[in-house]
Amino acid sequence: MNNIFVYCETEEGVVADVSLELLTKGRSLADKLGCKLEALVIGSKLNGVEKNLFPYGSDVVHVADDPRLSPYTTLPHTSIVVNLFKKEKPQIALMGATPVGRDLGPRVSSALYSGLTADCTSLEIGDHEDKKAGKTYKDLLYQIRPAFGGNIIATIINPECRPQMATVREGVMKKEIRSENYKGEVKKLDVASMVSPEDFVVEIIERHVEKRKVNLNAAPVIVSGGYGMGSRENFKVLYELAEVLGGEVGASRAAVDAGFADHERQVGQTGVTVRPKLYIACGISGQIQHRAGMEDSAQIIAINNDPGAPINSIADYVINGDVLDVIPKMIKYYKANTK
C-alpha cells in the first residue's frame, strides 16, 4: 500500500521511453521512501511486457490487457486507473507529459480529487511545515516546474490529497536499468470489472501514427540553429556538420516558427529536452525557453555574432563570428584531426 505508481504508455506493445525514464525516477524515489515501485500498463497484446519493466526496478507490474484498450481512449483508461488507485491508494503517481498523459492525468486527478502538477522538470522528496495550521508534513513529493513562460521555477506540493500526481516530459529524466535480473510480480487486472460499456462511446475512425524520424534524445551531438541562421537554406551547413560528427540537427522555437526547421527538431521547454555530450548552438540567442531544454548538455559551444547573447553565459566555448564561416572550418579541421 501507499507505493509509487507509474502509468506506462505503449505503442504496438513497445513501452515508451518516457515511461522507462519515469520508472527510473520512481525507483530512486521509492528507495528514498522505503516503498515499492509499481508499473501500470493498459493496452492490448501485452504478453511479456513486464520483461521490459522489471529491469528498471518495478516491484509489481499491473497489466490491463484487452483489445478495446488500444489505441488509447480517455474513458476506459481513466476508469482502470481510477479504480486501481482507489484500491491501492498510491502516495505518488507519475505519467509522461505526452498527449496521452496530458489527456489522462487531469481526468484522473479530477475524479480522485488529487493534485496534479504538469511538466515537472525535477521531483524530490522533502518535508513541509504549514506554520499557519501548525502542521508538519513528512516526505512530500516536491514537484518542481518552470512557470510563467519559464521565467520562474515553482515548487508545488500536495500536502493533503493522494496520490500526489505529476507529469514529466520525455528526456527530462534519465533512463537507467537498475538490474537486468530485478525480480518483480505480475498482476493481471480484471478489465471487465473495471470499465463500463459507456466508457467506449468515443470512436477512433482513423489513425496514422508514424515512427519518429528524428530522435534528438539519442544523439550524442546536437547542432542546433536559431533565428539568426536567417533561412532554411542556411540550415544546410548544420546538417553537414551534424552528419560529420554523427549527430542530429536541432532548432530553437523561433527558427521552427520561421519555417527554417521542422517542429520535431525543436529543443526547449515546448519542444524536446536534450542532454547530449556536445550541443552546438548556432545563431541562437538563448531565450530561457530554449535554455531550459539544453542547459544540461555536457559541453556547449555558442556560435553567434552577438557578444551579449544570453546563450553565451551558459556556454563552455563562445565563438564570436559568422556561423556560415565557422561551421565549414569546424568540418574541415574535424576531418583533418581524425584522419
Binding site: 510563467f148 515553482a154 555536457a298
Partner: protein, 291 residues
C-alpha cells in the same frame, strides 16, 4: 435548420511569449506590469472552430465563459468583436488562488447553470501555466467525454462531433458523442480578425461593475440594447460548495517560487580563425566529446 449551442472557455493571460528585457526586473523577478494581458492564444484557435460551426449552421450561438478578475471582461469583448453572441465573466474573491482543479470546478458549476449546450470548446492550454488540465477536468466534473489536441472539427450533428487530433507523431480522427469538451491546439487555424460591424455593435458592452464606473450619459443604452450587458456571475449566481473553491479547493499548493537568474560561467572565447578552430576541434577530439 439544425443549430448548436456552443460554450467557449477562455482565459486572459499575461503575454509570456514576448518577455522582453523590461519584463524581467534586475533581481530576476517578473515585472507583471510590463506584460500585456491577452486572450490566451489557443483559446482563440478554439474560438475559430466555434465560429466555423456557426458559419455552417446559422442560428447557432457561442457563449464565451471566462473566470478572472474584472479586467478579464476585455477578452469577452474581444470575443464579441469576432463573433461570439454573449459572454459570462465568472468573478469573485472566493475564486482567488484556485489551482486547475478548483478552477475547473467553478467553471463546471457555471456551465451546469447554462445548460443544454452541445459542445464546449477551449484551448488545449494557457501560456501562463502550460498545464493543459482545465479542459479535461471540466469534462470529468460534468461527466462528459473529452477530446484533447484537436486541430479541426470535421463534422457535427446532434449525435456526435467528429474531430481531427494532432498528436506527436501523427493524426487521429475521432467521433465523440454530444455533448463533449474538445480542447484545441495551436496548430489549428488562427482566429479570424475582429469584424468592424461587430466592434461598432459591442464596443460599449460592459459588465455591471464596469457600468457603475461608466459615463452617466450611456446608462440608458443598456436597457435599450440588452446585448450590451456582459453577464457577471459571482458565487451568488452559481450553485457551489464553498470549500471546493479558491485556495481551500486546491489540492496543490505553491511551496516556493524561485526566480531564474543566469549563473554565468566562464566561457572560453574562440576567435573564428583557422588556427583557433583547429585547436578547438583537437581539444574536443582529445576529450572524447566527439570522434
Amino acid at each position: 435548420m439544425t443549430t448548436f449551442k456552443i460554450i467557449v472557455l477562455a482565459k486572459q493571460v499575461p503575454d509570456t511569449r514576448n518577455v522582453g528585457k523590461d519584463a524581467m526586473k534586475a533581481d530576476g523577478t517578473v515585472n507583471r506590469a510590463a506584460l500585456p494581458a491577452i486572450f490566451n492564444p489557443e483559446d482563440l484557435n478554439a474560438m475559430e472552430q466555434a465560429l466555423r460551426i456557426k458559419d455552417q449552421y446559422p442560428g447557432s450561438t457561442i457563449s464565451l465563459l471566462t473566470m478572472g478578475p474584472g479586467r478579464a471582461a476585455d477578452i469577452i469583448r474581444e470575443g464579441l468583436f469576432r463573433g461570439a453572441d454573449d459572454g459570462i465573466l465568472l468573478t469573485d474573491r472566493a475564486f482567488a488562488g484556485s489551482d486547475t482543479l478548483a478552477t475547473s470546478y467553478a467553471l463546471s458549476r457555471a456551465i451546469a447553470q447554462i445548460k443544454n449546450f452541445d459542445l464546449i470548446i477551449c484551448g488545449r492550454q494557457a501560456i501562463d501555466g502550460d498545464t493543459a488540465q482545465v479542459g479535461p477536468q471540466v469534462a470529468e466534473k460534468l461527466n462528459i467525454p473529452q477530446v484533447t489536441y484537436v486541430e479541426e472539427v470535421l463534422d457535427i450533428n446532434k449525435k456526435g462531433t467528429t474531430v481531427k487530433r494532432r498528436l506527436d507523431n501523427g493524426v487521429e480522427v475521432v467521433k465523440v458523442p454530444v455533448p463533449s469538451v474538445i480542447t484545441v491546439t495551436g496548430s489549428a487555424p488562427a482566429c479570424r480578425a475582429r469584424n468592424a460591424r461587430l466592434i461598432m455593435k459591442f464596443k460599449h458592452a460592459k459588465t455591471v461593475t464596469e457600468r457603475q464606473d461608466a459615463n452617466e450619459d450611456y446608462l440608458s443604452l443598456y436597457n435599450e440594447r440588452p446585448y450590451l450587458n456582459i453577464q457577471e456571475w459571482t458565487v451568488n449566481e452559481v450553485e457551489v460548495e464553498h470549500e471546493q473553491l479558491g485556495l481551500s479547493g486546491s489540492p496543490t499548493k505553491v511551496k516556493k517560487i524561485e526566480n531564474v537568474v543566469l549563473q554565468a560561467k566562464e566561457a572560453k572565447m574562440i576567435e573564428p580563425s583557422d588556427a583557433e578552430i583547429n585547436l578547438l576541434m583537437k581539444e574536443l577530439i582529445d576529450s572524447h566529446t566527439i570522434g
